[in-house]
Amino acid sequence: MERQSRTFSVFVHVMALLVALIILAPLAWLFIMSISSNADLSAKPLHWWPEHFDLSRYVTLLSRQENSAGAAFLASLFNSLKVASMATLAALGVGIPAGWAASRNPRLGWSLGLVVGTYMLPPVALSVPLYLILAKFGLLNKVFGLALVYLSILAPFVTWLLKSGFDPIPRELEQAASMDGARLDQLLRIVILPLALPVIATALIFAFLLAWDEFFYALLFTSTQDAKTLPVAIADLAGGRVSDYGLIATAGVLAALPPVAIGILMQRALISGLTNGGVKG
């Protein structure tokens, strides 16, 4: 490698610092807002650092007192968890066999086209009939109904991801196993799944994050604490007449915590998934 000149090296360090600042400043501010008192947040000039830490909003949001902001928040948190887990598991349930079949049978390659096609579909293209269908079966404002709808996003996505993950697993292994008389379920369980586990784990995480993030369908198809998910609850807070900006920020911090923690812990797998398939936008 060429030797870098001193000026160039200084320039690179300054730019790196700038990029770090641009990324961190908004996130840091979200956290600072969540622990600042209202007096600090409405002060002019603004107090960029609280006089004393105010953790009361975390207590408020995580308390289970009935009819409190906390009860509503926790209910939506659990709804989000339920919807995302149900939809993710169901998507893996249909995606693992289909992804494997598509990977081993090139003639099923059109399924890949189908998948790319559904990825392009804007949710608005399905929203009206989905609303009518859910209404007909009494599934509006139900966690189960929303999870069902999320399958329209997660199932094709997961199948595509799994298929490209299964592709590099050598076929010889399966052939050897079936010659040894292994049944299909044994083949899947003993030969394929252990090798495919990392791929499946990545697909699971991406699918969960996708469902955790979803807003449009959740806004349309849920309306009360029975099924309302976290993004909708936060949008309510942000768009409502709530003037406690710190409370909104706290809800944001709590909602961001799981995906950000996953992002940091699973960094390597996520980045390789993102950059190879260019999966989630």
Partner: protein, 294 residues
């Protein structure tokens, strides 16, 4: 015999997925087509067949035309900024500096932040009375009075684009960085010893490796930006004075706020068609890159 059995088995394995896709995608999509030809309301019975009337009305409506222009400009400015900033940051991340691993790791944060939280965060930053942007700009003496960034047609769109770029440029940067790292060192070294300057090295050595992955990122980001709903819904709800009302917001209003299922469905189909055209055009371009060779 054997291959037939294999074929049957493959189909059986595909069956659950196909059933799900038909139930939650195929059927609804077909129903959207049917609804688009009727004057059905969201609640209540029936709806009369009206042919292509919804489409004709939609194309001539000013709301549609302005939403179309708004969507195009949001998509164009967001995505082009994300691509340029993303590539520049990737070039930076490919240099040697202290804390490089840490900065690469930080890139995952905006991507991991839920879209709704991102929108809420920026809405708080832009707040006209207590927002951090107003505070910072006033304290640095750049503006004399607090402004309503999201409340004025002149600045609302730009404010949205900044929020979108902040969340998405790191993804482009990560994709571009992975591509940069795939440039073999020998080729770079050869170009240097041949006396190629920085620009020529970027143009003839680096860029060919970048192009494919960048096209993928461009396609994905363009489609995502064209569909944008949550960011705008939370930050401006399409306002002020409809200046940030994109096509997805318009579909929402038409079908759900005004409960006109028929014309909402026709609009949704128009949006779908536009995205399909975009995607096909991009696929063609990508193929020509792949076919043109490195």
């Amino acid at each position: 015999m054997f291959s037939e059995r294999r074929n049957l088995r493959a189909w059986l394995l595909m069956l659950p997925l196909l059933a799900v896709m038909i139930a939650v995608i195929g059927w609804p999509l077909a129903d959207t087509v049917r609804l688009s030809l009727t004057d059905a309301r969201l609640v209540g019975t029936g709806g009369q067949f009206v042919g292509f009337e919804n489409f004709a009305k939609m194309f001539s409506s000013r709301n549609f035309q302005s939403a179309f222009r708004t969507t195009l400009s949001f998509t164009f400015y967001s995505v082009s900024t994300e691509m340029v900033v993303g590539v520049l940051v990737a070039l930076l991340l490919n240099q040697r500096f202290y804390g490089r691993t840490l900065l690469r790791a930080l890139m995952i944060l905006p991507w991991a932040l839920p879209t709704v939280v991102n929108a809420t965060l920026w809405r708080l930053i832009y707040n006209p009375e207590y927002g951090a942007l107003n505070a910072a700009l006033t304290q640095f003496g750049l503006i004399d009075a607090y402004r309503s960034w999201l409340g004025l047609p002149g600045s609302a769109m730009a404010a949205l684009i900044v929020a979108d770029v902040w969340k998405n440029f790191p993804l482009v940067a990560l994709i571009a960085l992975a591509a940069l790292q795939s440039v073999p060192n020998e080729i770079r070294a050869a170009a240097i010893s041949d006396g190629a300057n920085v620009w020529r090295r970027f143009r003839y050595v680096t860029l060919p490796y970048l192009m494919g992955p960048l096209m993928v990122a461009l396609v994905l980001r363009t489609i995502e930006a064209f569909k944008v709903f949550d960011l705008i819904w939370i930050m401006t709800r399409g306002g002020p004075a409809n200046s940030t009302r994109t096509l997805s917001i318009l579909v929402y209003q038409e079908a759900f706020a005004f409960q006109r299922a028929g014309s909402g469905a026709s609009l949704a189909l128009i949006v779908t068609l536009m995205i399909t055209v975009l995607a096909v055009a991009y696929l063609k371009i990508m193929r020509s890159f792949a076919g043109g060779g490195k």
